[in-house]
Structures are given as structure tokens and as C-alpha cells.
């Protein structure tokens, strides 16, 4: 589904990604871990199409498309979803209006008829029940006045509604208490299928107990330096990131 070859990117003259290589197939869950500043969020943001980088080099093939050629909204309509680390507030714009516009733009792109208001509300209700999200969240303006946990739950709700093929969850677990973590993880697990894939970016092994990855990658200094199965997460937890540093650079 996704093939990233030697992806490099810099911002304000500073190179952040120094050659990322990764391949993701449908039905898989990949975890990306790594210390702060290693480029995890940058990688997610570039896949989503954020336009703030000086130069992006390398190749990203997504379901046969040259992803770097597509606008962010087209990437979304092709099924890419980014669960933001810090979801932004959009006061005055209701969740309902926001998501209805998003869904119908996607449908238009795919040559489908738009959903009527009542059909859309039906879909919204189904998804709310599916991932156990409270009504109040969806009756308000986009993320306005939401707590950190509520914002993250709201990201998963949007994911349920938009049914993406490739979800990238950027530190979805940061700031969550155990209960919120469970709700988020359950939601992600319910949405998993053989046709879609998920990239989970996280610092902590804890989330990966709930969302069990098929592969774990460690990003360090703008590159993926180690890839293995889910045990790698446990090893990291035990030995810390210094272990990786030493392994990669042979220091100490």
C-alpha cells in the first residue's frame, strides 16, 4: 500500500529526514518509536501533505500514486488519515457541518452522490455507537474547548467516519489516562481490517499492548534504524533509546 524510498526533507535549511525507507502492506499495523526530535511527526506530516518544508526528496508510492504529487485534500480523499498530535480548534464550525463537508467532498471525488443531511446523521450515529463516543463531543464546534483526551477521541471518531485506507496516528496516546487510552485503542482496533493499514507513532510501549503491532520501527536522527516484530517495543522499554544509539553508531 505504501512504499517510502529514501525520503529526505528539510525545513529552514535544517535537514530533518535523512533518508527514510519503509514499506507497509494492507492489513498491517506498524509502530514507529523514537526519541524526541527524531523526525517521527515530520514524517507523518509529510505523508499527509503539509506544505512547510523546503525540499522533499525521494519517492513515496501510495496505491500506485506518486503521493508527493497529490494535494493534501486529494491524499485524504484517496484514503489517508492523520490523527494529529495537537488537533487544532476551529471555533464556530460544528463537527456535524465539518464532517458532512469532508465526507461529501470525498464522495464527489470518488464519483458518488453526496449524502443528504438525514443520511449523514444516521452514519454519524452508527459510528458514535461503534467506538463508544459520547454525544456531547459531536454536538460542539470542532475541538473547541475540548480537553486533551477529548481531542484524541475526536480524532478516532473522525477516522471511523471517513474510513481511511491508511491511518497515521501521531502520538495519539499522549495526554491520555488509562480509560481514554482504552477507548482510543478499542476504536482503532474495531476499525482495523484486511483492507486498511495503520501507522502508530508513539513514545511508549503501553499503547502497543492495546494496539498490537505487526512491525515496530525505531526512528533516530531522521532515519529508520531498526525494524523488528512487537518484541522490539519491549526491548526498547527496558533498555531505553541509548541502546539504539550505541547499536547504530557503535558508541560506548
Amino acid at each position: 500500500m505504501l512504499k517510502v524510498v529514501d525520503l529526505k526533507a528539510s525545513i529552514d535549511g535544517v535537514e530533518i529526514l535523512k533518508g527514510v525507507n519503509i514499506e507497509i502492506k494492507a492489513g498491517e499495523v506498524h509502530a514507529i518509536m523514537g526519541p524526541n526530535g527524531s523526525g517521527k511527526s515530520t514524517f507523518a506530516s509529510i505523508l499527509a501533505g503539509r506544505d512547510i518544508y523546503d525540499e522533499i526528496k525521494g519517492k513515496v508510492i501510495y496505491n500506485g500514486h506518486d503521493l508527493l504529487d497529490l494535494s493534501p485534500e486529494d491524499r485524504a480523499r484517496e484514503g489517508i488519515f492523520l490523527g494529529f498530535q495537537y488537533p487544532v480548534e476551529i471555533p464556530g464550525v460544528s463537527m456535524v457541518n465539518f464532517l458532512k463537508t469532508a465526507l461529501n467532498q470525498k464522495r464527489e471525488y470518488l464519483g458518488l452522490e453526496p449524502l443528504s443531511a438525514s443520511d449523514f446523521l444516521k452514519v454519524m450515529r452508527e459510528k458514535k455507537e461503534l467506538i463508544h463516543i459520547e454525544s456531547q463531543l459531536t454536538n460542539r464546534s470542532v475541538n473547541e474547548g475540548f480537553s486533551g483526551g477529548e481531542k484524541k477521541k475526536n480524532e478516532i471518531f473522525q477516522m471511523a467516519l471517513l474510513e481511511p485506507k491508511l491511518s497515521i496516528l501521531d502520538e495519539t496516546d499522549s495526554g491520555l489516562d488509562i480509560d481514554a487510552l482504552r477507548v482510543v485503542a478499542n476504536g482503532v482496533n474495531k476499525l482495523k481490517s484486511k483492507e486498511n493499514a495503520t501507522i502508530v507513532i508513539t513514545h511508549y510501549q503501553r499503547l502497543l499492548e492495546y494496539i498490537v503491532p505487526d512491525y515496530v520501527h525505531v526512528m533516530f536522527n531522521g532515519r529508520i534504524v531498526k525494524s523488528s516484530g512487537k518484541e522490539l517495543a519491549l526491548e526498547l522499554e527496558e533498555k531505553g533509546y541509548d541502546w539504539i544509539k550505541n547499536n547504530v553508531y557503535g558508541i560506548g
Binding site: 499527509a48 494535494s71 485534500e73 485524504a76 476551529i90 467532498q105
Partner: protein
Amino acid sequence: MVSKQDKIIHEVTQGEYKYGFTTDIEIDVIPKGLNEEIVRLISEKKKEPEFMLEFRLKAFRHWKTLKIPSWAHLKIPEINYQDIIFYAAPKQKAKLNSLDDVDPELRKTFDKLGISLDEQKRLTGVAVDAVMDSVSVKTTFKETLAELGIIFCSFSEAVQEHPDLVKKYIGTVVPYTDNYFAALNSAVFSDGSFCFIPKGVRCPMELSTYFRINASNTGQFERTLIIAEDNSYVSYLEGCTAPMRDENQLHAAIVEIIALNNAEVKYSTVQNWYPGDKYGKGGIYNFVTKRGICRGENSKISWTQVETGSAITWKYPSCILLGNNSIGEFYSVAVTNNHQQADTGTKMTHIGKNTKSTIVSKGISAGVSQNSYRGLVKVLKKAENARNFSQCDSLLLGDKCGAHTFPYLEVDNNTAIVEHEATTSKIGEDQIFYCNQRGIDTENAIALIVNGYAKEVLNKLPMEFAVEAQKLLQISLEGSVG
């Protein structure tokens, strides 16, 4: 580094002003220029009674002693009054009794504007008084309203048929001495609406008027007078369009509203005058004095406006809260784009006891436009227990436009509670990206965000207008986003 969003932001207006067409019909004009003879000529053409001519002449003589005010945050090119035609009426044969009598070219114009004078309009419950270049063409539903004792007709007709009412109230809210443009209007006013709601009557339908400026170099000087007697209610809609012209056109109107005991008047405007092209050439100058007096106890006047047009907008719909417990409201969304300028706001004067006023002003600036809010909340010494809440928000789209706020608070009574909030914001690039990432393209994202921003005001509009207003907001910001 110019991001793609910057590119969209710097794109110029794409949407063509779709009402930019003209009608080819015979127009009865008088020579250009302004002097006492022209004033007399206007009055004569309208067959006005003596008192009306006197009113005009007094106003004209006063206007000659005045100079155009210069305190606004506006750059106004010099206006040559001798180069303007002050009266243009489409030539009609005789009085119009049915739609068949209306000039077919004229009818076509109104159809293009989406105003049907047909009885079909009755189904939507809106009575329409269509004004074309200074003369009211037809008033529908006059008979229906007449049964309730409601008078809704053109101002010119009111001068003929209800001179006593006109004489009693004209100039009592906006005297010709009020300001430069009030004096000008009082001398050369062309036509407008007259509305009288008798005691105890609740007007069953929204009353509306559609204005249109057609002949080039004609200034339009509407005069509207609305009188709501004790315990009455009326909701009035004003909407305007204008054709594309190269020469600037002056629009100096006066609206006076009188609300007596327990009466309520709701006045809504969706203004769409030609704003000038993307280089700042052409466009209407909209210099208007609108004022309502809550004369009676428990009376209420609400102004709601969505202003997206005009090259220069200069207006302060205001309320004088004379009656005890009276309420004044002002809800406004003012959009400026490209080279438009706006200096607009309101004045709430608290005179009686326990009076309340609410001001919600949402400015949106884009392009290289300048958008200023100017508001006055005045509480007089004897005004016990006055309450005011003001909220002035500015939204900047892009980094070349300007938003300014000039709030004035003059409070001379220490039982008053006056609250003022102001915010300035811009649409964040991260907000747009969030929308993009959900599959919403940038133009739609901005439309969503702007509508969300203006929602509080749009919700105050009567249903018929709310939809038009939303579309208008989108069109006025199309392409030239910032």
C-alpha cells in the same frame, strides 16, 4: 518560500459580479448638477405638496453651508456634485394596476435579479416593493396589507396619499442638520419605502424592498420611513444590487424608524452593491444615515446587516433608547476585499431608564482592504440602570488588509453596566491544513470557517435572507482569499 496556500491567498478575485448587467429602457433624466432649480424640478416631477418642497429647500440651503466630514478612516476621492444626475425614472405611461402594465424590459431586469412580481411571491409570504432608479415600480400585496390597516408603499406615494403621516415623522429621527449627507439626501431624495403599522397589529409577512441603480452617473438617494405604533411588530428586509460601472456612484440614503410603546421593528439588510473591480476601480459609495428611536416604553429596534459590497461604506445604524425599558440591537457582518474600505458601526444612546443595548460586530478583511468598526455607547446622566454588551471581532484573511476598532464609551450614570469585548484573529494555516487533511479543499475550508465566524449574526437574519447572505459571503471571498 511561497507555499501553495500563499499562492491561493494571493490570487485575485475570480468570481464575476453576476449582477453586472444593464437594462435598455427609456429613462427620464434631468440635467446634471445640483442647484436650487434642480431641487424644485425634482419636487415638481414628483408632484409633491408644498411642505415637501419647503423641506427640500431648507435642507439644500443648509447643505450648501457644509463641508464633507473628514474624520472617518477612509480615503474618499473628491465628489463633483455638478457631475451627477439627481433624478432618473424609467418612463412609464400611466399608473400601474396590474403586472401587465409593467415595462417588459423592466420585468426582465427584476427576473434576472430573482425578484418575481408575480403572485407567486405570496407563497413565500414576502411583499415586495421594487425600486428601480429612484422610482418604485410596483408594490405587491398592498391590498392584502391594507386590510389590516398596514400601509406599505413607495415613499413618493406616501407623500401623495398620506402626507400627514409623512409630515409628522419625516426628519424627526434624522434631521437634515444631522450631517452632510443627511442634508444632501433631504434635499434630493428620490424614493424609498414607507411603512406604517397601526396600533396592535403584527405584520404577518416580512416586508422587503429591492433597490437597483441603473443609469450611469445617477446617485441614488433613498428615503425610508417606518412607523410602528403601540403594540405593533414589523420585520423589514432591505437588499440591493447594482450594475457594473466604471464611474463611482454615490448612494446617500436615510432610514428613519420610530417605535412607540411596546412596538418592535426588525430591520435586516443584505447589501451587495458593486464593490469595484480588483484594481479598486469603480464601485458604489455607500454613505448612509440609519437611525431608529425607541420612543415608547418597552419598545425594541434591531438592526441586522450583512455588508459585502460598495467601494466605500460609511454607515452607523443607530438606536436612541428614549423609552423606559427599551432595547436596541445591532448585529453586523461587514466584509471588505480587494480595495474596499469600510468605516461602519453603530451608536446606542441610552436616555430612558432600564434600557439595554447589544452590539455584535464581525468584520472580515481580505485583499488590501481596510475595515473599521466605529461604535459609540452613550449613557446620559438620567439614564438609570443602563446595560450594554458590545463584541467587536475582526478576522483578517492574509497579511495586506487592515482591521481597526474605534469604540467610544461615554457613560454619565454610575448605575450603568457596560461590557466591551474585542478580538482580532486570522485564519490559521494549521486550521486550513486540518480541513485539507480531512478532504476539504482550501476554498471550502475558508467558507466553513468564515461562516462559523459570522454565524451569530447570520442567525439573526430572517430565513429568506440567511441563505442569500451565506452565498454572498462565499462569493465575496472567492479566490481573493487571504
